[in-house]
């Protein structure tokens, strides 16, 4: 029963020596943080690699999901791979795990107590918030090992704190970047929206297009009572990258979390998204758009957990498949026994643009309460020839008609965004992928 031959080094370059070395490089870290990292490392090293019988890795190409070859420490220059301009200057820019640029907040926001800072900074100023929310939710989607790796090796990340009742209109952009061949990065964004606050955050992931990186990121979203978080994860890694992103969202009473993940890059990209609806009136909207081309694999795993009565979740994941690309969507809605009056929806739509592409869909439900409204659907098809024909009869050339229908496929998701500028910006990024 030896699977060790496949993964001769289950820790890859992330050996105990490498871990200790990384810890030594950062003096004056709080002891609780160091203890947590050590625990995480022990867990990472002891947990097995995903195996054939691992349902949460079903259909994933595990033979290429390997840590070997990447570098645990990086000495590459902390230069930004690409210039990023998305609705104004980014608030924070991280390259290879370090903050390289920041733009100060409006003074009025600073005065109202809003904090857009780094995790390093927050370790000093807000340890209690970090203790409560940083990687605080149990990983349930298959990447416990890599979540531990993330905690063990994380150096820095974004820390966003919105005090009670404060509403921020302008989206806050955070850039996470990798630069240099075989670099490993551990991006993190933590958002805590206190009661009745509002914030919108864009995580922009990008790496230099020529080389290969290992990007093992995570984010924690906490939406306090009556708050509203809009989160956009714009993943545009290099086409060689191995990437894994673990998202965790907690939604409290009458709060609303909307997250939209755009998957454009990476050679093998896995995204796990967990939404916990913890109190009545909580609403989580989970959206994703993927453009899969070449021989790349996009693996998305989602979990909507309804833990309280009268909660709502709505998931819409759309994939466009080209060339020999593969996608996996594995979603699960869990309704706990007490979560009566749950309203949950889950939908996966795959648009096939190639005869060699492969779409896998695993839409699941686990319902333990009876007074619920739960539906899910999954479809896989090409562009409807009748729709194409209709447009052509209106004088639109076939190529253009085809393009319009593909863009229209994305619009259903983008239309859910309230911010029109953001909608336009994302639309143009998507359309540029087809030029």
């Amino acid at each position: 029963m030896s699977t060790l031959t496949e993964h001769s080094t289950p820790v890859g370059p992330f050996t105990l020596d490498a871990f200790n070395h990384a810890l030594d490089a950062h003096k004056s870290l709080p002891t609780w943080w160091i203890a947590r990292k050590k625990d995480a490392y022990a867990k990472f090293a002891s947990l097995p690699y995903p195996t054939d019988t691992d349902e949460s890795w079903r259909f994933s190409n595990r033979s290429t999901f390997k840590l070997d070859g990447f570098s645990a420490s990086n000495t590459h220059p902390k230069a930004l791979a690409n210039k990023i301009e998305l609705l104004g200057k980014p608030a924070l820019t991280f390259v290879n795990n370090e903050l390289v640029a920041s733009n100060p907040l409006d003074q009025s926001l600073i005065n109202s107590g809003v904090i857009v800072s780094t995790i390093k900074e927050a370790l000093k100023s807000h340890p209690e918030v970090l203790k409560a929310h940083f990687m605080a939710q149990t990983q349930r989607l298959g990447s416990e090992k890599f979540a531990s790796l993330h905690t063990a090796f994380i150096e820095d990340g974004a820390f966003i704190y919105i005090p009670k009742g404060v509403e921020i209109k302008q989206p806050i952009t955070i850039v996470h970047s990798a630069n240099g061949d075989l670099v490993s990065i551990f991006p993190h964004t933590l958002i805590v929206a206190e009661d009745n606050s509002q914030v919108s955050v864009i995580d922009y992931f990008v790496s230099d297009s020529k080389s290969k990186h290992f990007c093992c990121g995570a984010n924690d979203l906490y939406a306090g009572h009556g708050s509203k978080i809009t989160y956009v994860g714009l993943q545009n890694w290099s086409n060689h990258d191995l990437c894994l992103q673990m998202n965790s969202t907690v939604v409290r009473r009458d709060a609303r979390a909307q997250s939209l993940n755009l998957h454009l890059g990476g050679h093998q990209a896995r995204h796990e998204s967990l939404s916990q609806l913890q109190a009545p009136g909580a609403f989580s909207e989970m959206l994703a758009l993927t453009i899969a081309s070449g021989e790349r694999e996009f693996d998305q795993r989602t979990l909507q957990i309804h833990q309280a009565p009268n909660t709502k979740s709505d998931l819409l994941y759309k994939n466009v498949l080209q060339d020999k690309a593969r996608t996996i969507f594995s979603g699960l809605i869990v309704v706990d026994q007490d979560a009566q009056k749950t309203d949950a929806y889950q939908s996966n739509r795959n648009l096939m643009l190639s005869d060699s592409a492969e779409a896998n869909s695993l839409p699941g439900l686990e319902i333990q309460a009876n007074d619920v409204r739960c539906t899910h659907g999954a479809t896989t098809a090409r562009i409807d020839p009748e729709e194409l024909f209709y447009l052509q009869t209106r004088g639109i050339p076939e190529v253009k008609a085809h393009e319009l229908l593909v863009f229209g496929f994305f619009e259903e998701v983008l239309n859910r965004l309230e911010d029109e500028d953001l909608h336009a910006a994302l639309r143009s990024i998507i359309q540029s992928k087809f030029k």
Binding site: T53, D54, E55, R58, F59, Q337, Q340, N350, M352, L353, S354, D355, S356, A357, E358, A359, N360, S361, L362, P363, G364, L365, E366, I367, Q368, A369, N370, D371, V372, R373, C374, T375, H376, G377, A378, T379, T380, A381, R382
Partner: protein
């Protein structure tokens, strides 16, 4: 709850709203067994079965190989319920036969077995009217009567041992080919110890007008039944086969693990209907699969009401162009029951279509699970699948799960899957109570309404029986 209970006696939890009468439908008779292979499974058990059945050496060889496969395969608990671990293979009897040769006339059937059929509710006249009755009494067919007209058409309808002995030239070719021994742990177990079941051959172009029918029951404590069914419909032929199960209730778990293989050759049509109503202590772990050749059609109508744990995913391999597969599934899970059912559609040729309609009802602590697989590999064109799963939850602590898996390659195919979960609407119940129905009657009517469109696809007598079984389950359900 089913996976937590370690005793075989299902939980008799009195539901605050529904107090299910678990004793309804329980009956058993004393039977003397002439052949008994004892408990536990080893090569000796197989020697014994093979000798008792006077089998050819190749069959014994087949059984022994299967035993090795069974022993080497782990329990599939990485995806399936942990309740499987409660099966004690050493406590199960793998072969029992009353030593009777299949009976030819109704008069020769023992009276106590007739009583069982009576309890099943099939009127005497209708029983006689049925085209062929192959009622499996424990491991051997206790009664077998192929209506003369069917035999005249050249239809072969006999039990597995008889068929392999008398018509190897027909059955050997497909035996174990649709479902290979190593398909899963329980198909391997069946391959090692199978006995009984029906082997049917329909010659070219023959359309069997009456459904062929067989009833199975388990009638000995700790006794597993491992019947093996193989139906071959030759080119252009048509057949409907019906299988119904009821079983007496016992205090220790019993295991039922059947293998059913269907082969529909070019243009043939097979409809296979099951009403499963095992006692609430039976593990019912069944592998069912058909191969549909060019323009052939295989339809599984699968209804699961009884058993402690049922795991059954009837499948169709759509091997020939324009082949069609369909699964209609109804499951009802009551207290202490887990109905883990579903369907598999493997598309392997152009322009093949498949349709899956699954409806489940969970009552009390019952748990129903839909597990499905739709597979469309590369370079196929014009394949279509439609899947619909609807779950009805009766009580606050009822549970339902849906785990479909859909793989599509290429842009020329089309798949759609939809599932929903709901409860019986309070307005409906209120309305019916206003009209003088009791809450139990109203609930029963609602549940029957929920599955009505599927039940109407059953042949008349099954549809009636199904309605009665649901009434029985919902009967006295409201205190």
């Amino acid at each position: 709850m089913a996976d937590k209970s370690t005793t075989s006696e299902p939980e008799q939890t009195e539901n605050p709203v529904l107090g299910i009468d678990q004793s309804a439908g329980n009956f058993s008779y004393n039977v003397d067994y002439e052949f008994d292979a004892g408990t536990g499974l080893s090569e000796k058990t197989i020697d014994y079965i093979s000798a008792a059945k006077k089998e050819d050496p190749w069959i014994k060889e087949f059984r022994l190989k299967a035993l090795k496969v069974f022993e080497s395969k782990p329990m599939p608990t990485h995806w399936a319920t942990k309740d499987l671990e409660n099966i004690d293979f050493n406590k199960i009897r793998y072969y029992l036969a009353s030593g009777q040769k299949p009976k030819r006339t109704w008069d020769e059937v023992p009276d106590d077995i007739k009583r069982t059929f009576e309890r099943l509710g099939i009127p005497e006249q209708e029983r006689k009217f049925l085209a062929g009755v192959e009622a499996q009494f424990d491991s051997e067919a206790a009664y077998s009567n192929v209506k003369e007209a069917v035999a005249k058409q050249g239809v072969i309808f006999m039990n597995s041992s008889e068929a392999l002995r008398e018509h190897p030239e027909i059955f050997k070719k497909w035996f174990g080919k649709v479902i290979p021994t190593g398909d899963n742990k329980f198909s391997a177990l069946n391959s090692a110890v199978f006995s009984g079941g029906s082997f049917i051959y329909i010659p070219k172009g023959v359309k069997v007008s009456h459904p062929l029918q067989a009833y199975f029951r388990i009638n000995a404590e700790n006794f597993g039944q491992f019947e093996r069914t193989l139906i071959i419909a030759d080119e252009g032929s048509e057949v409907t086969y019906m299988e119904g199960c009821t079983a007496p209730k016992f205090s220790t778990s019993t295991l039922h693990s059947a293998v059913v293989e269907l082969v529909a050759l070019k243009g043939a049509k097979i409809q296979y209907i099951t009403v499963q109503n095992w006692a609430a202590n039976v593990y019912n772990l069944v592998t069912k699969r058909g191969i549909a050749h060019e323009e052939a059609e295989i339809k599984w109508i699968d209804c699961n009401i009884g058993s402690r744990l049922t795991m059954k995913y009837p499948g169709v391999v759509l091997k020939g162009r324009k082949a069609r597969g369909e699964v209609i599934s109804i499951a009802l899970a009551n207290d202490g029951q887990h109905q883990d059912t579903g369907a598999k559609m493997i598309h392997a040729a152009d322009e093949t279509t498949s349709n899956i309609i699954a409806k489940s009802i969970s009552v009390g602590h019952g748990r129903s699970t839909y597990r499905g697989m739709v597979h469309m590999p590369k370079h196929l064109k014009g394949c279509k699948n439609n899947t619909e799963c609807d779950a009805l939850l009766i009580n606050t602590n009822s549970r339902t799960d849906t785990y479909p898996s859909i793989t599509v390659r290429g842009a020329e195919n089309k798949v759609q899957h939809e599932a929903s979960v709901s409860k019986v609407s309070e307005e409906q119940i209120f309305y019916m109570r206003q009209r003088g129905l009791t809450e139990g009657q109203a609930m029963s009517l609602s549940v029957n309404g929920f599955i009505n469109d599927l039940a109407s696809q059953f042949p008349m007598e099954y549809s009636v029986e199904l309605k009665r079984l649901i009434d029985l389950e919902m009967e006295g359900s409201v205190g």
